[in-house]
Every structure is written in C-alpha cells, then in structure tokens.
Amino acid sequence: MGSNIDALTTVFTEFYYWVTVVMMFLIHVGFCMYEVGASRRRNHMHTLMKNTMLIPLVTITFFFFGWWIYWAFPNGPGFIGGLEDGSANAPWSPTMATNLSDRITGVFWAAFLLFSWTAASIVSGSVIERIRSTAFWIHAVLIGSVFWIIDASWGWHYAGWMVKVLGYHDAYASGVIHAIAGGYALGVLVVLGPRLGKFAADGTPRDIPPHNPWLVTIGLFLIYTGFWGFYAACNVPIISPEVIDGQITGVTWTATNIYLAPTTLGAITFNFLMSLSGGLLVAYIVSKGDAFWTYSGGLAGIITASAGNDLYHPIQAMFIAGFGTFCAYKLHYWVERKFKIDDAVGAVAVHGYAGFIGVCIAGFMLWGQPSSPYEGYAAINPLGQFIGAVIMFGVLGFLPAFIISKIMAAKGMLRIPEKAELQGLDHHSELAYQAAIDDVRAAERELAANQK
C-alpha cells in the first residue's frame, strides 16, 4: 500500500467483502430451514445434515482447487489460449494465508466460496428424501468446487473467454450460479427418479406438501436477506480507472460489476427490490396466493433480472422479474406432468428456468452495450447470451450431473433403498434418541424410588 488513500481503499474493500460473506451465511441458514420445512418429519435430521455437511466439503475443496480453477481457466483452457497463471491462488501460495502484503485474497476467496455453497445447496433441496448422502456430497463438491467455478472463470471473470468472444453479461449470476445449479439439479433428478408416491399409477402427479410451510417461508425470507450480501459481493466497491487499466479515461472512481464495468450500489438496490416485488406480485396471482410459490416467485424474480440488474431501469427489472416468474411457475408443472420429474422444492424452475430466461432477456435489453471496459471484447448480444445460457444450464449443469448420476446409479450409490425411504431416513437416529430417553427415565425413576 503506497499511500494512505491506497491503504484506506484496500482496508475498506477487505471489510466490504468480509461483511458480504457474513450476510451470505443467511442464505445457507435459509436453505436449511427451507429444506427441513419441505421434508417430512421422518427425514428431518438427515435432510438437515445433508445440507450442512456440504459446507465443510465445499470449503476445503474450494481452498484446495476451486479457487485456483477460477484464475487458471478463463481461456478455457484451449478455447482462446492456455492455462493462465493461477499460482497466486493455489493452496500452497503464501497469498492464500496470513499475509500483510495481500489483504484481499482471503475475503474475495470467501465471497466466491459462499457462492459455491449456494450452488450446491440449490441442488440439495430438489433431491431430498431419497438421495444417499454419499452421492449428494460428491455432487456438492463437483457443482460447488468444479463446474460452477469453471463457468465463473469463463463467463464471470473480467478476462473470461465467454465475455471476450460472446459478449456474455451476467452481472448478478442468473446463469453463472442459478441456471447451472438448476440444470445440475435436473440432471440428477432425471436419473434419481421421484419420491415414492409422488406419481399415481396413471402418471398423475401428487402434491407432497411441506410438513411446515411456515418454516419454508421464513427460510426463503432468510435467503432473500442473504441475497443482499450476494449482490454486494458481486461488485467491486471502489476502484480508480487507472487500476482498472481499461478504456475508461479521467480520474473518477467508481463501483464496478465483476467485469470491472461501472455500476452503482444504488442501481442494484433499486433493481433488487423492484425485481423481488415483480416476482412476488406475479407469483401470488399465478399461484392463487400459495405461500410457497409466492415466496419462491420473489426469488425467481430476482434471479431472472439478475443478469442485467447492474444496468436495467427499476421498472424494467420489475417486468422482467414478473415474466420470468410466470414462466418458471408454468414450466415447473409442465415438466413435472410431461417428464415425471419430482423437484421437491421447485429449484430447477426457480433457479434453472428463471436463470436461463434471465440471461436470454439481458441479450435483448442490453444489446450493443459494452460487455467490458477493455478494448476488443464482443458487445452484449442476444445470440451470445443464448449460447451462454445453454453452456451454463446444459453443458456445465445438466450434462455432467446426468453422466455422473448414471455412473452412481450403476454402482448402486445414488438412491436409498425403498424400505429405508418408506421407513424414513431418521429411523436409526430416532431409535437411538428414544433409547436414550428411556434409559434416562429408567435411571431417574430408580433414583426417585430410592428417595426416603
């Protein structure tokens, strides 16, 4: 840090990202509440632990190789160049530790890590009550520390090949987090199959209501809250044109999006709230006031508008959110009926379809705008966005999940046995719980009988 202003900027940026990480923890609290609320009583603890244990698994793998992938893969490698030098972000690098000459890597790593948890957690909800934890945790590591971070390196990096060649723009991750995680969930679900009893003999889907709708909705409320942290974490809070080193002239400092193109926290605050509102209003009407879908619609609204929420007008964001929410709701039930897909929490629709649609809409709304402050990058355009959405949802989401799930299914390690599913995944822990209670009761009764 050469001067006091540099020092202040660095420490402010360090603190800024640190705060976003703490806020983003609420996303995970929300996902846990939401999943447990959606599951039936005989599966509570298993559902909770399935989601909880992705935290340490994704964290350590993201430290070991996920973060390095982000910095090493922006060229593909092999599409527009080779591997980039990611050595400063390799797990053995001195900057990946306590280091007074680098205060940003740790908090920046953590911000991305929290996105990784989210990607894995999105998949977690859709597969509840019938997936083996063994299989899910492998999937969690793959989506959280491999596939999503590859797509981030390609389409959410200031020098990613998708940004350079396709003009890909996805400021708050409609595709980069949500479409890929939704596509990944769908790839697992196709192989995993529905929960027992989900479909009648004639193929008619049955509703399996959440055991605790109140817990589900509060979980979604917490996800909204954590989403604020996510939005802030997608920005660079303050940077000078000389540090960006692109085409911007003058000396005016600015906040930027992940591509280092200017935006403001004010813009994303307007657009976050207006897109949340657009999603909630449309979801309330289309679902006839169903609480689960109204809350999910708020999320789908934000997700649809997120690709361009650094640049949209707030009313545009509201309408885009409403449109995406309507499509996601209709697609969820159409896919369920047509393909017999049991997505227990609507994650494929809320994240996958809404994210895909949002990336495509941004191509039209932002057509011709610069995707980057650097010279020679393609401008934002509908075709580039569509190809980008297909890469996110299909190539890096659905496809690997489908192939890996097929292998797991062939090895008998994907789905729990039918008897275990009927009995409930908490069966053993409930027996141990009851045995402990009986033991303590018996001991206390004996003591009470011996009292004079």
Binding site: L311, Y312, I315, M318, F319, G368, P373
Partner: protein
C-alpha cells in the same frame, strides 16, 4: 448502436449520467408499471372473492368448532 447509447467505456465517467437501456421511455414504463399495480389489485380481488365464496359454500359447523378449539 446500443440500447443505452454507450458502445464502449472509453469515456470519462464524470461526463456519464444514466446508463439504463431505452432511455426516453420512462413515462411509458411508469404508465405500464401503474397498470401492472392496478391489475394486481383487480386480479387479487377476484381470486379472494372466489376463495371466500367457496369457503361459505363449504361451511361445516363441526369443522368450524374444531378450528375454534385449535386456536
């Protein structure tokens, strides 16, 4: 041509103002937004009226007493 008039960031940011797409359509957007808002109330009122009419049709004293007891 671009939807917000900017085709590159080779500018001095002190000279840049609004950067949202389709500038000039703000009044139309507000009118459409107001229509969306009013439309919500109209549709919501219809849905609620239908639900309440159904509740009246389905009234059952025994069930009501159970709900009252449940608090």
């Amino acid at each position: 041509m671009s939807t917000n008039g900017m085709e590159s960031w080779a500018v001095d940011l002190k000279d840049v103002g609004a950067i949202y797409p389709f500038q000039g359509t703000e009044v139309i957007l507000v009118i459409l937004g107001l229509a969306f808002w009013i439309g919500f109330h109209v549709m919501q009122a219809r849905v609620e009226a239908g639900e309440l009419a159904e509740a009246e049709r389905d009234f059952n004293a025994e069930h009501s007493n159970k709900n009252i007891d449940r608090y």
